[in-house]
Symmetry: C2
Subunit: 397 residues, 2 copies
């Protein structure tokens, strides 16, 4: 398995591009991914009961499980927009289908941005008509899906599976309202592997649990979250069967792509200066380990302590205590980096110089051993900074 | 029912005082409440699985349900302090009993402050020996329990019940780690009413649900939370029986004291500039209404929007959507102040000048009508500010 430079269009037969349609002042705000052939597709969506219009349209399009194109706009979320919003999302799908000369129902739609505003359809229509897949600029797609993100987020890997070179690419946007319960933010994964849509959906659901669902920026679950995977089969590998070596290879690729995107989203959380990784071991089961890890990285007090570069283990053990997992409050061990802070819940001497260096880094690892079982789990978050408050107090409706 | 000036020592037979023992640099850090006679007592405690030593000592003291004194220190939480911490909490109880010439087991103990530090017992012992109830300074108790609070929090009310003047006083501290699951922070309520400990516990548990448990500052549930109520009976009213007029009067007093303290804690949340009150109506049941209200005031995005004085209803409906209650996402009405923002989940025109004035105030009311039932609930929180980050990034261990 090899990480390579590339874009969401690196797997065989995929094209992508992005442009400035006019929803945002200057930045790119409209993008399309296209596959030469209909791709097997899988998706997970936000668990928020208030769902944006494009979520409904994409769910409907996914009923026959093949997708040939994805159209995405940023700037306006098309959420809480009622009937007109739903019609606009369908219209956006139809215009894209016509422009690309493919059936409307093979187009997935995603939106991100301000809630409660209607899409200006003349801008969307003009924007889509300017999409030119003969001169694609795939990296522009990575840019076109961003909102308050400070950087694009992508990864491309390649691997020989059953004698064929299979490539998988992922791109995501994140930053605010990142506390997914199922899907998170927008993430798109393309691959030229041959794999059934059932198996693809199973892998996506499974890996979402341990990657995208384990990141939190601010505890808010968005109305627009979606992870969409397209597998167009053009690598011509033998169709991947469950529990084969090829399956293991594919799952490993999927894990790396998902976890990398998830971490990139957490690290680029609004206002963040640090990525915080919590690793919980010794739990009764994996879901409780993930729960505790997520409570640790989600705690405002832990997040501000990390911003202040303070090894405040009291706030961490406090979060462990209210997480709601099985815990023996007398048996908790804890480390920041490789410095042990707690043994059996009691403070330990540590090297303050090394701790200071550890906390100054851009990535901080917190490890908690509950010492009551054998299972482990991870979660990723970021520090809570003045900049977070600034970004969110100034982002006006 | 009349609100009067006074202190936690205003009800008959109560004394209180506070002083600087030396746990903090200069501020008062040790206080005692004392009743002339043993008082019927009720208490609720943190649900955090990691509990501070004084919680265990007070729980033990409460087994025979009368309490004659409360000793409280601020500066050190005596949490995660193991066997020695438990011995110290007991020692603090014993020294207080000896000094006041009452049985050790009639003394409740509470601590608040930094987690993981041992109490310096020579300072505690010297401090308690300086407690002089012949020259009490009751307001000094209100000060002695504070940590990052910017103001003392108290309320005293009086009411004639069955021909006798009954007084009830409450004092609380809050500020950080305020997201109680059961009790919250430290709150002490004294009354000279005659009432059984069973009924007192019942009323406390019931009212905690709708007041103290409905505030959130930062989503973190502390290891030291406690609400303790003492009723010494010196008002000589006939013992209050359930479902009598006297009971109703007493419950109304208790509600006012609890709600007032809860709101004062929320308003004085770390770094806060505004109190945010969410009222959810039209819910299927009260607990779901309270859940939704608490998610709204707990959302970092709502909190920063209020700080930015932005009527960002999108973030509010987003919080309603992920709260996990029954909801019809198409039927939500919403107001900020008296301006309607949503009807059937669709944006409404509102008066921007009035909205601006509403959002500039120190208290902001958000009302959400789920339109699916008849029940309502409230919650209180505060805005999320630069100062919150400052307070918590700089509060070093």
């Amino acid at each position: 398995m090899q990480i390579i430079d590339g874009t969401i269009a690196s797997p065989k037969g995929f094209y992508a591009t992005g442009l400035h349609a006019g929803l945002k002042k200057e930045k790119k705000d409209l993008g399309v991914i296209y596959s030469e052939v209909p791709a097997n597709a899988a998706a997970v969506y936000t668990t928020n009961q208030v769902k944006a219009a494009p979520i409904f349209v994409t769910k409907e399009a996914m009923k026959d499980t093949t997708i040939q194109a994805v159209v995405v706009n940023s700037g306006i979320a098309n959420a809480c927009t009622g009937k007109l919003g739903l019609e606009n999302a369908k219209e956006m799908q139809a215009i894209t289908g016509t422009h690309l000369n493919i059936p409307q129902e093979s187009v997935a739609v995603a939106s991100t941005g301000v809630i409660g505003k209607q899409l200006p359809m003349e801008i969307i229509e003009a924007g889509i008509s300017n999409i030119d897949l003969e001169k694609p600029e795939p990296y522009a797609f990575h840019e076109a899906i961003l909102t308050t993100d400070t950087a694009t987020k992508e990864i491309v890997i390649t691997e020989e599976i059953n004698g064929q070179q299979v490539t998988m690419a992922g791109v995501a946007k994140g930053s605010g309202m990142i506390h997914p319960n199922m899907a998170t933010m927008l993430a798109f994964i393309t691959t030229d592997a041959q794999i059934s849509e059932e198996l693809l959906q199973e892998i996506l659901a499974d890996k979402t649990e341990t990657t995208f669902n384990q990141i939190t920026v601010d505890g808010d679950t968005s109305t627009n979250d979606m992870v969409l995977v397209l597998a167009n089969g053009l690598a011509e590998n033998p169709v991947i069967e469950k529990n084969s070596k090829a399956f293991e290879q594919f799952v490993a690729m999927f894990q790396l792509v998902s976890e990398t995107l998830a971490k990139k989203i957490a690290k680029d959380g609004e206002g963040a200066t640090k990525l915080i990784e919590a690793q919980v071991v010794g739990a009764l089961n994996g879901s409780e380990a993930r729960l505790v890890a997520k409570k640790v990285v989600g705690s405002s007090l832990v997040k501000t302590a990390m911003f202040g570069e303070d090894p405040n283990w009291g706030r961490i053990i406090c979060a462990v205590g209210y997480a709601g997992s099985h815990t023996d409050p007398e048996k908790i061990d804890m480390w920041i980096g490789d410095q042990q802070l707690l043994k059996n819940s009691q403070p330990q001497e540590f090297d303050e110089t090394i701790m200071k260096q550890t906390l100054e880094k851009e990535k901080i690892n917190i490890t908690v051993d509950l010492n009551i079982g054998e299972q482990s789990g991870q979660a990723w978050g970021c520090d809570l900074t003045y900049k977070y408050v600034e970004v969110n107090a100034l982002y006006h409706t």
